[in-house]
């Protein structure tokens, strides 16, 4: 395991965590439609209890994604979080609201009322995927930051990274392509949300509504995602010279990445096919309830392929539009070889963690959630 291998390995792991996070945002997707999926208070409770048994997985994956990024690519953590301050803060506010909304909303003594916490879930359901998607879009489109390590010694301001304007990250939302991808992720989360509810809830009314909502969300998602994908594959991309570290613009860099790394192209195509298959079968077969699995796996594979492609093959994963040479690559922003190697050993625990999550998930989902269970068992 040499240093370059470790850099690629850790980018793969961070990409995998990112891909799992996108899949697990079915929680946010379903929550964003709480009032459409559930027309009565009882139906809304059913939806919320269904996502409420999984929200911790999404939350924990987000935390681990942050921790893994910090440990493996600390310059990204420092530059993006410290620079795009407002973008990340808004995401955090929405996740704070989500974290308490399940536990508090139907408890005696909730002085804000159940409806307030339901709206908090809707808010997180929209803001979370939209802004996290927007943040990922900046991997392809660039952000407005400058990194100057010399500040540590000869500047009057020792901070090495700063945003090049005073918006602290909100300017990313002015880029239409960032918004296109952000909304694509939002609608993808909603697709996953409907499929999860169809699979997890045993209630005809709610699942019928989920099937109807699936169609509209799919059409919107496909338009947005395909537009972003085609544009990204055809546009100039950010590349760097591995010998000198110099960053430059390369024509159709992202398309070339898939051609030069055909295994990623295969991964992407398998992922897209699985997503389309799962959605189509759910739409056309009234008895098919397992669409979440092919679509979920497809989403993980697709997002994994996209994220890996933006970090490997001498590609800049966090380009700076303010100063090209400040751009971050897996080589110039990673931790030391010692830390990456140590953490690589820790990462061997991941399959074990995934195994017990899988086991616990199966146990909890052994019986589909219905209205009766809300009355006789522990429930939010």
């Amino acid at each position: 395991m040499d240093y370059i291998f470790l850099q690629h390995y850790w980018w793969l792991l961070v990409s995998l965590l990112g891909a799992l996070l996108v899949f697990l945002m079915f929680v946010q997707g379903a929550n964003s439609m709480v009032f459409s999926l559930g027309r009565t208070e009882e139906e809304r409770r059913l939806v919320i209890n269904s996502t409420g048994r999984k929200w911790e997985f999404t939350f924990t994956t987000l935390v681990t994604f942050g921790g893994a990024f910090f440990a493996s690519f600390p310059l990204f953590y420092s530059t993006s979080f410290g620079g795009a301050y407002w973008l990340w803060m808004i995401i955090l506010f929405s996740f704070v609201l989500q974290a308490v909304s399940y536990e508090f909303q139907n408890k005696l003594g909730n002085i804000l009322g159940a409806r307030t916490f339901q709206w908090f879930l809707v808010l997180n359901g929209i803001v979370g995927p939209l802004l996290l998607g927007g943040a990922v879009a900046t991997f392809f489109n660039g952000s407005n930051f400058i990194v100057c390590k010399e500040n540590l010694t000869d500047g009057i301001q020792p901070v090495i990274s700063h945003w090049a304007n005073s918006s602290h990250g909100l300017d990313a939302l002015l880029d239409p392509w960032t918004l296109v991808f952000g909304f694509a992720v939002l609608f993808l989360a909603r697709i996953l949300g409907t499929l999860y509810i169809i699979n997890n809830v045993n209630d005809e009314e709610v699942t019928a509504r989920s099937r109807r909502l699936l169609i509209g969300n799919t059409v919107t998602f496909l338009i947005l995602f395909l537009a972003f994908l085609v544009r990204t594959l055809l546009k100039d991309g950010y590349a760097y010279n591995p010998e000198t570290g110099e960053v430059y613009m390369a024509p159709m860099k992202y398309l070339w990445n898939f051609i030069e790394m055909p295994y990623l192209l295969v991964l992407l195509l398998i992922g897209v096919v699985m997503v389309l298959f799962g959605i189509a079968r759910t739409i056309f077969s009234a008895t098919y309830r397992c669409g979440i699995w092919p679509v979920g796996i497809g989403v993980v594979l697709t997002v994994l392929a996209l994220l890996v492609s933006v970090g490997w093959n001498n590609t800049v994963y966090y380009p700076s539009t303010a100063d090209l040479q400040s751009s971050l690559t897996i080589a110039n922003s990673c931790s030391s070889e010692f830390t990456l190697r140590t953490m690589a050993i820790v990462s061997l625990l991941i399959p074990f963690v995934l195994a017990y999550i899988f086991y616990a998930w199966r146990k909890i989902d052994s019986k589909k959630l219905d209205k009766e269970e809300l009355l006789v068992d522990e429930a939010y």
């Binding site: 410290g82 005696l108 909730n110 540590l152 500047g155 090495i160 990274s161 616990a360």
Partner: protein
Amino acid sequence: MMNFLSAIDLGTIEWSRAQFALTAIYHWLFVPLTLGLAVVMGIMETKYYRTKDEFWKRTAMFWQRLFGVNFAMGVATGIILEFEFGTNWSNYSWFVGDIFGAPLAIEGIVAFFMESTFVAVMFFGWKKVSAGFHLAATWLTGLGATLSAWWILVANAWMQYPVGCEFNPDTMRNEMVSFADVALSPFAIDKFCHTVISAWIIGGVFTVAVSCWYLLKKREEKMALASIKIGAIVGLIASIGAAATGHHSAQRVAEVQPMKLAAMEALYNGGESQSLTVISLLNPFSQPDYEKGEEAPLKIAVPFALSILATNTLDGYVPGVNDLLNGYTRPDGTRELSADEKIERGKLAIQALADYRKAKKEGADETQLAGMLTTLKENMPYFGYGYIRDKSELVPPIPVNFYAFRVMVGVGTLLILFFMVVLFFCYKRDITKPAWLQWTAIAMVPLAYIASECGWLVAEFGRQPWTIQDMLPTVASVSNVNSGSVVITFFIFLALFTTMLAVEINIMLKQIKKGE
């Protein structure tokens, strides 16, 4: 060099500190109860598993419901702390991210996933999994929370006592060279033991207090009596353990953070055979004039006790604030540099680093570069001091440290007595009768929380002005964000957390009123 820091927005530093403190203080309202109740309800469910008595199941479920209300807030505030290292302390995140990021990542992979996976089984799995698996899930939730605390405290201990790392001038950051030194630092072990054990005290006090409320109301007596016994035993063992681990922690502080100890003791001029101040009337609202060296009025002290605490000897030498600022000679004849000398050497280190970077860029030969690196290496232990503008910045806020330490120790001692009395009444008298004791138990809840928070005040205020002891001060750790933005996010967090706390307390009280 003299222009250093002139472009730093001091408001950003102060508000970033305030925001982090706010989040940490709120977070620590919920975490100790999570850790403490995990033990209490784990014991109760174990009793159910062994006896198959439905009473223990109902009792365990009752405490688990309270655990759940509290748990959500702990999670909500915890995520903010992790990300605030990036959003508000971005320079710190780069300068030591190579070391500091690792425990946070391991916490997510190893601990947080365990906690969040099994907490769902614990809440919703009573009718879905076997009793044995459910019991395992309950204990694994507690174990996950405790492991989580371990890695977070490893990270925090490293900020107090940075070990296992070296500065790399080519990458301009500190890099890990020994994971074992970081993960098993003696400071981390002491901190973990003291912090987690103190959290069990909160769990014990809370259990006893809620149960005593039922006794006052003449309700749920069977559950209350059973819970009091478990809560008080856990609480007493933890209180004694906290005193022992607290002593260890204080000795570590004496070794590696002598300025913190001097501030805790309001000790201005140190020496041999130092007495430990029990209490004195130190002005709580302003930094004392330590240069004059006048002691605060009405001081009550235990002779030799500070020397014993710090050095395990009656005549041990303990430096005061002025000794640390002006330099002193240790009993073994070695000399501790004065603050001015350290600042000077810190500036030399920073200049040597700048020269090295410039020379390397210009293609200087190896001999020249080696000379600069030698200067850097010689002065590197004082690197952080190069960002200090005046030696007075090196003195932490003395009144906060002085009083917070005394509140923590005072209440901690009181708690040992309290749990002993409760157990005496449980086993030798009738605890259902003395209303004074039941009311005392309820009053102990806020006191225990205040003591617990005071522990963190000492740990964090006592480290000032450093983010990482002697390595990086807060002034060089902060993000380049305008203070206005941080002020706004501070107040958003304040409003958010305070509202949620109010909701949580109200839900908790209703849940308690509802009973089993």
